[in-house]
Symmetry: C2
Subunit: 271 residues, 2 copies
């Protein structure tokens, strides 16, 4: 199934634009799980069981799994196995390398791990992104304007009166022959988010930075979806997965996800 079909189906079926970031830091899981050898996997599985019916997607940042060393692969894989087939999975890897190498990364993320979509860094240009886009059914979110403070350093540099991130967006849109392109735009930049929505029609935007990073839900939803419609994936990681720190962590995570879903839908409906 094409990535967009799956995205639309789960968005409708779960009435949700919520993406839970399973960026699990082994040092931050509840104490009763920390002593277990497979504590992170237990934690992730419990989160998935508690939230799968009310979310649109899960985003797994590979850094957290790589930092676990040898066991990281099994935890990542085990977590993916626990996610119901109808829910979208995003491999947040931000890879970017020369063509033959990018093809290897795409193979790892799409063929081996089976992610429905992945994030990709644009700095190295077309031949670093195309090997991902070539997987015609999988989604490819190119970093445009990121949620962090460092987004100010290079993404806003002015080229012919336009910031670099707009050049990235315009170029990447020319590469979208399989309709599987999207962009990452941080919720911490609502004004720019609105402008970007105007540039990309209904292309999917992956919008991180809600919650711990301070992005405002009302502003982001209004800007990211806007009057023209458009597909959006609103990610929150720490605000949901660490909503509780005791044995009821999964219940509290569900509450946090439910609350975010309701908030988002409220501003969405208000359009």
């Amino acid at each position: 199934m094409h990535f967009l079909e799956k995205l639309d189906a789960v968005t409708g079926a779960h009435d949700s634009l919520v993406c839970v970031g399973l960026d699990t830091d082994p040092a931050k899981i509840p104490a009763h799980l920390r002593s277990q050898a497979d504590g992170v996997l237990h934690f992730n599985r419990a989160l998935v069981e508690a939230t799968a019916d009310i979310v649109q997607s899960y985003k797994l940042n590979l850094a957290f799994y790589e930092s676990m060393g040898r066991s990281g692969y099994d935890v990542l894989r085990g977590t993916l196995d626990a996610i119901p087939a109808e829910v979208l999975t995003i491999g947040d890897a931000k890879r970017g390398d020369i063509g033959n190498t990018a093809a290897m990364y795409a193979q790892a993320l799409f063929d081996d791990l089976g992610f429905d979509a992945a994030t990709v860094a644009p700095y190295m240009g077309y031949d670093s992104v195309e090997p991902f886009l070539r997987h015609a059914e999988r989604g490819v979110f190119v970093l445009a304007l990121t949620s962090n403070r460092g987004s100010q350093d290079f993404q806003y540099l002015q080229v012919d009166g336009q910031p670099v991130y707009k050049h990235v967006i315009r170029s990447a849109m020319e590469w979208n022959e399989h309709r599987n392109l999207g962009f990452v735009v941080g919720a911490t930049h609502p004004f720019e988010l609105e402008e970007i929505r105007g540039m990309v029609d209904d292309l999917p935007l992956l919008i991180p930075g809600l919650g711990a990073q301070g992005g405002d839900v009302a502003l982001s939803v209004r800007a990211g979806i806007a009057a023209t419609g458009g597909r959006a994936v609103f990610n929150s990681s720490r605000g949901i997965i660490y909503a509780g720190s005791g044995e009821d962590f999964a219940v509290l995570a569900r509450q946090a996800a439910e609350e975010l879903r309701t908030q988002i839908n409220q501003y969405r409906v208000a359009e």
Copy 2:
């Protein structure tokens, strides 16, 4: 030991600026190894044994190991274990993410895998690079001007009359409080390489793109080291590791590495 001390020591002891890229594609190893379960590890170990005394460093591109799935971690680890302690190891990962996530990548590459240095992507700015630089003894090569064709897409965009890659270099140089910064500059851009050497004093440059990618050795060495001196790491992957495809692959790889060392040293001495 600080990364620069180690780099200087091995460069001197082995009289070599050659970095062998262990970017091993399981489909490209000699037929007699392809049928073995641990064929890639055998291949890598044989290459290391055959070349360790005449190279400065090994660069392992993580994409190739990730594409192997679960076994990739053990192959990567086993390869690193086979590299003598005095030879520099570079984790070519091109990671770049928000601060707390970049810290996890740095942990994976430096603390878990134990690389002496890593490559990092600049698009997300200071807080995506600083968690690597914070490891004061490890080297951090920031992508500046890459060897691939896609380097034309964004790295050359003109900002105030200067290309983006020069802005990246100037900014990153301000972050170098532990003297552990370097840059990646492709051998396919000898003119720009010379200009960059002029900007960065004796900072280490990781220069890929020799061999299969078409970079010229004479031009790159003259430009990359130049009259001012300066540390350089010249990487060749496919030209060395696939020099042979039969049972004598390691002997032929050594010959190719030796030849590259001699060529580089010839132009280096000529300065």
